[in-house]
């Protein structure tokens, strides 16, 4: 199971938006606000093929970071976290894979997704999606959200052993 600190897990459980930062072709960081999902071990994000540049960046360089920082998007849950990890893009079938992998988790956070899904005919490309799976490697947590204080740093067990 997962090793992330409790604060980070709690934030992942409620976050409606986090900033996924990927590394662009020219080496600069590029951030994308996305809804993060968490299955207790892996973090999942997902992207329509409409907004797929981030997927191209991840395929070129899988090192990513996810920031959970906005108290409003965290529905008032205290704390901030940044999770660094390695991402892979899952898209064997962009039409269906994401439903099998993450629809249940997505529905829990954004129940309106079922309404949108019923209107799939209106937005067909929006529902051609790839899943971004992140294996966390390192986590920085600010338990009270105050970055004037140094964060608590945790490493994935394997990364720690190395």
């Amino acid at each position: 199971m997962g090793w992330l600190p409790e604060t980070a897990e709690r934030l992942l459980g409620v976050a409606l938006v986090g900033e996924l930062t990927v590394i662009g072709r020219d080496g600069r960081p590029i951030s994308h606000p996305l809804i993060p999902l968490y299955d207790g071990e892996r973090i999942f994000l997902h992207s329509s093929t409409l907004f797929s540049k981030k997927l191209e960046h991840i395929k070129r360089n899988p090192k990513v970071a996810l920031s959970l920082s906005d108290p409003i998007a965290m529905k008032g849950v205290a704390g901030r976290a940044t999770i660094q990890g390695t991402a892979r893009v899952i898209e064997e079938d962009p039409h269906r894979d994401w439903e099998r992998l993450i629809l249940g988790l997505w529905r829990q956070k954004e129940p309106a997704i079922d309404t949108f899904l019923k209107a799939r005919v209106a937005l067909p490309l929006f529902f051609e999606r790839s899943v971004i799976e992140i294996m966390p490697q390192r986590c920085l947590v600010w338990p009270d959200g105050d970055t004037k204080r140094a964060p608590q740093v945790s490493l994935a067990p394997r990364a720690e052993a190395a």
Partner: protein, 451 residues
Amino acid sequence: MSGVTATDLAKLATFPFVVVSWVDDAGYPIDVATDFDADVDAGTIRLRQPAGDEQAIPTDRVVNVIASHIRPQPGIGYDERRYLQLWGSAAAADAGRVTFTPSRAWGWDEAQMPFFEYSERSVPQSRRYLAQLSAERGHEVKPRLDRFWLFLRTTRLPFLSATAVPVLLGIAIAASDGAFTWWTALLTLIGAFFAHLGINVSNDIFDTLSGADDANVNPTQFSGGSRVAVYGLLTIRQLVLLSAALFAAAGVIGLALVWITGSLTLLWIGVAGMLVGLAYTAPPLKLVYRGLGEIAVFLGFGPIMLLGAYVVQTGRLAWEPLVASVPVGILVALILFVNEIPDRAGDAAAGKRTLPVRLPPTTIQGGYLVAAFVAFAVIIGGVVTGVLPWPTLVALAALPLALGVHAGIRVHYNSPYTLMAVMGQNVNLNLVVGGLLLVGYGATIVVISLT
């Protein structure tokens, strides 16, 4: 991606905090939230240096600053999505702060660009990505829709109501003249449906090939075509085959009706209908590209459909169905007229010079009102002159609906997505007037049968 403007910095200043990112020495991006002050005049941002050595904003590499906002909607999700990110470099400043000088900016605010438009503008990226994925896989990766929804979207099936009204009215007028055969009436309706669907698909083929659909970033459920080729759901070849099959089905039914009725008039009406339907978007005439689409639609969905249905039942032409076809044709033409309003920027870019492209908004708004009044005036005139039966005056009850559509056009002229409700009302106007005319003819048939 663009250079940074004072507007960008002023907008950034409205956010309560930013997340600063850079690539750390291990090669991972790292994000830290912090406070900031934007100096709009100087074009810089002062960022508070977060605590901890590893979290210190570096001054030797590219730094990204992002501010984002959403408003959670409990039980639903969220709205008010907006974000703005800036790239630049940081330099040490005083009192635990760094000065960030941005050089590039990128962002999205759904209040300024609705999500649907943002999605449409991103369609080329989707096509590129799927083409790339196909190349990686060695087989084609295509977007998909379930067959039923794909057929509905491709043919724009719900617009068949525009065909049902004139055909049923033609049949009703014939019945009021004492001529009605149920199975030829049914065949007429089915044949007209096939012709309408074939025309819809062929219009999409020509609009896709001309670039009009690609240029349109504000399609709605009523406007902008089916977009199945633009999205890559079907190829042009598949659309050509579908259109040909639909036209063939319409042609077979039409010829069968000509054979059954022995009416050459019907043959000429059918040929005229097919030609007008094709000439609507097909070269060389491309009537809709010349601002003549409304006339083509008026002829096709007014006199041609209504007289055709009448001739199938009676074998002859008459003034009554011709007069009744005028308000019906006008109201269907007005569906096109209003639906062209949100498409006008894309249409103009593709050289599709529709009336809303050619004429100023006040003329379009006034033109709608005049045309709608003419439609109702023809009904009154038809009754006054004894061509139409007096119960058809019941259709005047729909007049407030037309006034409502006119008011809606004036308010929402520049907002494609809020105009959608008005476009729906306008479709309903045709249905309501058509339905009331049918009620009028139903009452007429009852009165005739009782006397």
